[in-house]
Subunit: 194 residues, 2 copies
């Protein structure tokens, strides 16, 4: 494998295992074995496990960015339909995964915020970036008179994102997508009620 | 130390360390050293690390139950004031802890739901129990005509609890209590708006 391909395959396998069982609970040797990369060559690609962890966080961030671009941004659909489609697309994804794993960023927030400052900083940037396209949808909906102009779009977007993370957490606990459905209903019927 | 006292001191120290750095990331030897208990005697008190982990979850559950009883239940205050006081008391607690650690149950949901079935079951019971007194407050508020009778109190209580967990998670990431304040505002000004 070329250098870039090997590096990416280690990141992908690492992202999968960290998503499934946590960062501290994931051993490098398991990742390298699953990615069919010789144990000794890890440090050819990464300075340290931390450096590798930061690359995994970027990988998650790119995926989320892709979902946001596919559903929330640059669409001819009305903004609240885009938001609903984004929520539905994630629900479908979680159901395909057997309601396991949850949000990789949410998991790492809980696990790593107090343990590793570079992780916390990088996750903080990604989390803020997750909020922006939701806020943009809310502003557009306000411009169209579809939600109340009294709502602070930035605060509402942050609340919706945090509540979404909480709903995903409960889904992961209950092994049931009902918390996601309740979230969706509450967002559109209460929070964003005109 | 008497047997019960020693066992409780191991649980308390374990609860502190697991809250601070996660279950899988916490070693028994660190806990026993901090609790001044000889390493060899752990298995006199617990069958296994899992058995110990389950006792720690019960310990968290008892604390949360105590907070619910102190603020949400059996009070002469109106139900929505009780809910507001409960939120405020937790915010004060989190601020005293330097906005670190977050909710011990929320942390374990993320870390353990896919890894350990007895943990998931016990946390699930505690999480449902957390929802009940919130739901009871909402029902009382409906009886008093303070919130709309159209709201499904059970679903709203679940949504509020999940959103609270999400807000705590964001607080832990941002090292800022602003997400808790936004949560409080959204709950009373949007979700529970008459």
């Amino acid at each position: 494998m070329a250098k870039d391909t090997t590096k990416l395959s280690i990141i992908r396998e690492g992202a999968r295992q960290v998503h499934s069982k946590g960062y501290n609970n994931t051993g490098l040797s398991d990742i390298l074995q699953a990615a069919s990369v010789p144990k000794g060559s890890f440090y050819f690609y990464f300075k340290s496990k931390e450096d590798f962890g930061l690359a995994i966080i970027d990988h998650y961030g790119e995926f989320i960015q892709g979902m946001a671009e596919a559903y929330l941004v640059d669409s001819n659909l009305p903004p609240l339909d885009r938001l609903a489609n984004f929520i539905d697309a994630y629900q479908t994804l979680f159901e395909k995964m057997g309601l396991r794993c949850g949000c990789p960023i949410g998991n790492l927030i809980q696990e790593m915020s107090d343990l590793n400052e570079p992780f916390r900083e990088k996750i903080g940037i990604i989390y803020s970036r997750m909020q922006s396209p939701v806020e943009q949808c809310l502003r557009e909906a306000q411009d169209r008179g579809e939600i109340s102009a009294d709502i602070d779009a930035g605060q509402a977007a942050q609340f919706i994102l945090n509540s979404w993370e909480g709903a995903i957490m409960h889904m992961k606990l209950a092994k049931d997508s009902e918390p996601l459905k309740i979230f969706r209903r509450m967002v559109f019927e209460r929070i964003l009620k005109p």
